[in-house]
């Protein structure tokens, strides 16, 4: 099997995106309702560019999606991605419970093997 790392990159991006409070706050806002980038930027005490980069990180991780409306870009939260992260955690919990039979899938993606 050669799957491993390709998916791991995605997971890195997901947790990495969530590991910043500004991005978590943006995500909360856009899960409730669509917001333009500049509307989001207005909420924080930092430059527009900084907020725009945070939005881009969330977008790359797939936690939000953007759609264009005229000159603005509306961001909405992707609840499916949030659920997929939750699912990773429940896999961990199952592992703890000892219920996982296909341990090899989750455990020991040996770096050394290909």
């Amino acid at each position: 099997m050669a799957t491993a790392t390709i998916e791991e990159d995605r997971i890195d991006a997901l947790f990495g995106a969530l590991a910043d409070r500004t991005r978590r706050d943006i995500l909360r806002r856009v899960l409730v309702a669509e917001h333009s980038v500049s509307a989001l930027a207005a909420a924080y005490d930092m430059s527009f560019a900084a907020v725009q980069k945070h939005v881009a990180v969330l977008d790359r991780a797939g936690l939000i999606a953007k759609r264009r409306r005229g000159r603005e870009q509306l961001a909405r939260g992707e609840v499916g991605a949030v659920r997929s992260v939750a699912s990773l955690l429940s896999d961990l919990e199952e592992l703890w419970r000892g219920r996982i039979t296909r341990i090899d899938d989750l455990l020991a993606e040996d770096i050394t093997k290909e």
Copy 2:
């Protein structure tokens, strides 16, 4: 209310710790069974010190706990911490569902206000 940031630091640490594949792999292993730091280190193609630092990051985030047995330090996964992260994500999902009444708690921890 003055809570906010104190808890946010904890969440930063949790997601930050999970945003690295080596640490996720370590966490999987120690959720299944206790492992000494050197036993863990043997599993990866990096120095002992690097693995020890990863373990320390997981420890600081509260995702693992350590207990001493003789000269070795045994790490076990803290499933409660894993669940608390899952709970954060389900809060996000609830937010999306529009079910959260206490939105102010989750949303808009305004940086500017104290």
